[in-house]
């Protein structure tokens, strides 16, 4: 397949029929302000320079590309791990948050608000707030507060206020709704730091741009590592889809096959239908009456019933494939990577590995293939879950 361009043929904020800006009138000026500010900042070498400096000095970028030698031998495919788990704060979320926090400061906003699922985006936002001197309020579903107590404490330790959301399914979906409700009340002062490639325009595009550092680095690293320069497959887990969007951005114009792995119970791209939620049109799990269904996953970061609009578009184009992995497969993959490579991935990231483990040696992922897997985060936060769920044999 020759390289294809998947953007630039549609109006800003649209990915085919997906995306858009489905927000109340009250939020239109705030969205427009963010879009305008991002557009200016992204074209400003000083802004880019400040972000690059922070990503280097504070986050530890570039992150390594690690050949998974023993796992590769076991599976019969060459697995390369893009190590976002080694970033400061432990997940790729920090890439986006530092970009948005710098933008918020450039816009003269005085505080940050954020939603969080597993707590990684909340921790990253709390970290950026501490670093740049901006107060942070994080909205988190009650179920996630219970299962990610460690991250709740980290956010508070960093000086953030954590608001427990008790409505609906009490997970990421409801935390996002509550953050949007709060944003309306203080849109002049508060900057809403969205954690994934979701939300009204410009968020899906902007978050992808802040995350594309993952894909851009990985593409260069693959060129140095692989005789064919690009891997045959590029695999990442997908909740809203930010680490996948950032990874895919580096490879969408290559011949690599793109695979997004969703949680079985949170598979908006694989099993969703067209709908509108949280400001954007995309694919969402919903019932026959148009009510959004609750997602269920052991990985709080994948517990979202929809998927970013660009993923829906890439799916329709056939440019990326979206598959699922179960809770059990993800846990087994996390343990397997820990034992084979000495790397404990986040349960979210383990979904991407789980698909590789399942598909390796089948026509889906033939023996001898080269596979880039983005490890979006590290598994320290999941140890409590693993104590309860993992069978160590």
């Amino acid at each position: 397949m020759s390289s294809i361009t998947v953007r630039a043929t549609v109006p800003p904020g649209r990915y085919g029929s997906y995306g858009g800006r489905y927000v109340p009138e009250s939020l239109i000026p705030a969205c427009e302000a963010v879009a305008e500010a991002f557009s200016e900042a992204w074209a400003d070498p000083r802004f880019r320079g400040s972000l690059t400096a922070l990503l280097s000095a504070h986050v530890g970028r570039p992150t390594p590309l690690t050949p998974a030698v023993r796992l590769s031998a076991e599976l019969g495919v060459t697995v390369l791990l893009k190590r976002e788990d080694l970033t400061h704060t432990g997940s790729h979320k920090i890439n986006n948050v530092l970009g948005q926090a710098l933008l918020a400061r450039r816009m003269g906003r005085t505080r940050l608000i954020a939603e969080t699922g597993a707590g990684m985006h909340g921790v990253a936002t709390a970290t950026a707030g501490a670093l740049l001197g901006l107060p942070v309020t994080v909205f988190m579903g009650e179920r996630d507060v219970e299962r990610q107590a460690h991250n709740v404490f980290r956010m508070r330790l960093l000086g953030a206020e954590v608001v427990t959301v008790t409505t609906g399914s009490r997970t990421l979906k409801d935390a996002t709704s509550e953050a949007m409700r709060h944003w309306v009340t203080d849109a002049d002062e508060a900057y809403y730091c969205v954690g994934s490639v979701i939300g009204p325009h410009p968020y899906p595009m902007m978050v992808r741009e802040f995350q594309r550092v993952i894909g851009d680095e990985a593409r260069q690293q693959c060129a140095a590592e692989l005789p064919a320069a690009t891997p045959d497959y590029v695999v990442a887990c997908v909740g809203g889809g930010s680490n996948a969007a950032g990874t895919f951005a580096g490879f969408v114009e290559t011949s690599a096959k793109l695979v997004g792995v969703e949680a079985e119970g949170g598979s908006g791209a694989a099993n969703g239908e067209v709908g509108v939620l949280h400001g954007f049109r995309s694919l969402f799990l919903q019932d026959e009456h148009g009510q959004i269904r609750e997602a269920h996953s052991i990985a709080a970061g994948l517990d979202y019933p929809g998927v970013g609009p660009e993923h829906a578009y890439l799916r329709d184009l056939g440019r990326a494939r979206y598959v699922t992995a179960s809770d059990g497969e993800a846990i087994a993959a996390a343990v397997r990577l820990a034992r084979a490579e000495g790397v404990l991935p986040a349960i979210e990231s383990a979904h991407a590995l789980a698909w590789v483990v399942r598909a390796a040696g089948t026509p889906e992922l033939p023996s001898g293939s080269t596979v880039l897997v983005t490890l979006s985060g590290r598994g320290d936060k999941d140890v409590t879950t693993l104590i309860a769920e993992a069978d160590l044999g």
Binding site: V23, P24, P29, A30, V276
Partner: protein, 240 residues
């Protein structure tokens, strides 16, 4: 005479359409009927609770519209719901079949209206205190039936006092449209209704109605509240 449009979450309790008749008898000019959605991001706690309660007892947008089709109220009914419901195929036909004359979709701004297909139904747009002048004029031009002036930067829900932004926005809207301007979000008492209506053509009252229904008030009791709003808006006794 000032217009009064109370709101009810469709399907909130068994026999909920009795509230529609009570509102009409109490002097309402129109009624806004909410088709409950699982994720009401523009609503505050009261209408969130009402939506959840309605959904929990098996209410669907279709069941609300079916209830409306079998009810004669004698005043116009305006449906309100979220974009995910309103943009579903067949929604326009279902609205028309139910005899609904208007529609409000709070998360479907001007820029996304093209996706909405509801022939024969007047789509009323919302304007907010943050809406700039040029956009306000466009909303005035493209709105149908009336313009919904969102009183405050926030979600629906009762408030202690009318926000100063409500009067300001109503006055700005009156300069750009000949349609009636109705003020909504947070109007909780007859006095607030009178204050808001002084600068506008009428008011929309939602959470204050729904809190009473959630607390167990019957149609006559909520009708009495609506009558008190009516009395505050005009000295004329409601027609019975």
């Amino acid at each position: 005479m000032k217009l009064l449009m109370p709101y009810i979450t469709g399907g909130i309790v068994p026999g909920w359409t009795a509230f529609l008749s009570a509102f009409a008898h109490a002097g309402a000019d129109m009624i806004e009927v909410g088709l409950p959605f699982s994720d009401p991001t523009v609503d505050g706690p009261t209408i969130q609770e009402a939506s959840d309660a309605a959904l929990a007892r098996g209410t669907t947008p279709a069941s609300v519209l079916a209830d409306l089709a079998g009810t004669r109220v004698g005043i116009p009914l305006v449906a309100s719901t979220y974009a995910n419901i309103a943009l579903r195929p067949g929604f326009g036909d279902a609205l028309a079949a139910a005899g609904v004359s208007g529609l409000i979709v709070p998360d479907l701004p001007l820029d996304e209206l093209a996706g909405l297909d509801v022939p024969g139904v007047q789509v009323s747009l919302l304007a907010s205190p943050a809406t700039p002048d040029d956009r306000l004029a466009e909303i005035g031009r493209r709105s149908q039936g009336f313009v919904y002036a969102v009183s405050v930067m926030g979600t629906t829900g009762e408030r202690d006092r009318l926000a100063p932004s409500a009067v300001l926005l109503a006055a700005r809207l009156k300069q750009v449209t000949d349609l009636p301007v109705l003020v909504g979000f947070g109007i909780s008492t007859p006095q607030q209704a009178a204050e808001a209506a002084a600068a506008a053509d009428g008011v929309i009252v939602g959470a204050a109605v729904m809190r009473r229904i959630l607390d167990g008030a019957n149609p006559a009791e909520v009708g009495a509240f609506v009558a008190s709003l009516r009395a505050a808006l005009s000295p004329v006794a409601p027609v019975r």
